[in-house]
């Protein structure tokens, strides 16, 4: 992936030098070998901080709304799934198209950093990564490792729909074929089959762990409300108590609030410190959207309206 990194830096440098953008948001090496961190580059000299590889899990489109009122234009590095966020933000009029330069990078999948860190010698530093189709090779100063995708990738990458960015001004790297490792809604279907009691017990167990740190909400690229209903104090809809009742309320509301706009980037699931399978909630909604309204994943094509934001006479009407 060295050539991708090289091209990425060159393109970013060019954009900054030609003053087409004032800021490039990309991935930089994090403080752990298997982690990257968002970097905000505002000068051509800074582009050497940019990197790319199988540790770029974050969805950087999240930050675009922070700069929607900034003077200059902003370039952002996106993977396939992140590009869906960009489309969704554009369709929601959260950002304007002429202020954003999308640098799309076809994505071979992202590894779960904790799983990788458990294998790699602590303190080793990263030299190079490469995509070998079914696995990634990771070269470090303490030896070389290989991680096969099926076991080490984030779950969302196992059912990836868009390895190639669906919107992009500058594409870096070769287009990649769509490759999935399991049925997209396999987990959801399995849970749907269970009895009401089992479903209830399953989610009670998950939600009871919630700390209500709101990482899932804050990391969400389509959570764009100025003041979130959960932060509102007048009236206070949900208190700061973390009991099962309020946690359940929070999670149902959060999931439903992004229904039809959630682009299935899986960030909520990744960032949860308590490992609550949040994506299973969002995926349920995706599955139903598909079943009921024949709606594709939001953001996967420009200009498709949110299924729940538009009425058509052919919509199923279970409640009439």
């Amino acid at each position: 992936m060295m050539d991708v990194i090289q091209q990425l830096r060159e393109q970013a440098k060019k954009l900054l030098e030609e003053k087409k953008v004032t800021l490039v948001i990309g991935f930089g090496q994090g403080t752990e070998l298997a982690r990257t961190t968002p970097v905000f580059i505002d000068s051509p000299e800074g582009v050497s901080a940019l990197t790319w590889g199988p540790f770029c899990a974050n969805n950087l489109a999240k930050y675009l709304t922070d700069y929607k009122n900034a003077e200059g234009n902003v370039a952002v590095v996106v993977k396939g799934c992140d590009a869906r966020s960009v489309i969704r933000l554009l369709d929601d009029n959260q950002i304007s198209r002429d202020k954003v330069v999308v640098i799309g990078v076809p994505c071979p999948g992202q590894l779960e950093w904790q799983k990788v860190a458990a294998e790699v010698k602590p303190g080793a530093s990263l030299k190079e990564t490469a995509d070998n189709g079914e696995s990634f090779s990771v070269k470090t100063d303490a030896g070389d490792y290989s991680f096969n995708k099926k076991d080490y990738m984030l779950h969302r990458c196992l059912v990836c729909e868009n390895p190639n960015p669906v919107i992009s001004d500058i594409t870096i790297g070769k287009e990649l074929p769509v490759k999935t490792y399991e049925e997209r809604f396999a987990e959801v279907s399995e849970l749907e089959q269970k009895s009401t009691e089992d479903k209830s017990a399953y989610w009670d167990k998950q939600f009871s762990r919630c700390l209500r740190c709101y990482a899932c909400r804050n990391v969400c690229s389509v959570c764009t409300c100025q003041i979130c209903v959960f932060d509102q104090m007048l009236p206070m809809w949900v208190s700061k108590r973390t009991n099962l009742s309020e946690n359940t309320m929070f999670h149902i509301t959060r999931a439903f609030h992004v229904a039809g706009r959630c682009v299935d980037c899986g960030e909520c699931d990744r960032v949860c410190p308590m490992d609550i399978p949040l994506r299973k909630l969002n995926q349920k909604i995706h599955k139903d959207l598909g079943d009921l309204f024949d709606s594709p994943t939001p953001g996967s094509k420009p200009g498709i309206p949110s299924a729940l934001g538009e009425f058509s006479p052919g919509d199923p009407e279970e409640f009439m």
Binding site: L191, E192, T196, E197, K199, S200, A201, Y202, W203, D204, R241, N243, L244, S245, T248, M249, H251, I252, A255, F256, A259, L281, K284, I285, D288, L289, L292, L308, E317, E318, F319, M320
Partner: protein, 54 residues
């Protein structure tokens, strides 16, 4: 959608219902409420999201 989501997290089917009833549909309103009351009674007390203070 919400109905499906609620059932997915473990609410009993029928605990949550939505109906579109116009102001002129008095009879439909009565039957809906009757059905709903019967349904709820048959389901018994709600077990989800019971409020415990802490």
């Amino acid at each position: 959608m919400l109905k499906r989501l609620l059932e997915y997290v473990g609410f009993e089917p029928g605990r949550f219902q939505a109906r579109w009833i116009s102001g002129s549909e008095g009879a439909k309103f009565t039957t809906t409420i009757k059905d709903m009351t019967e349904k709820i009674k048959s389901l018994g007390p709600n077990k989800k999201m019971r409020d415990d203070i802490v």
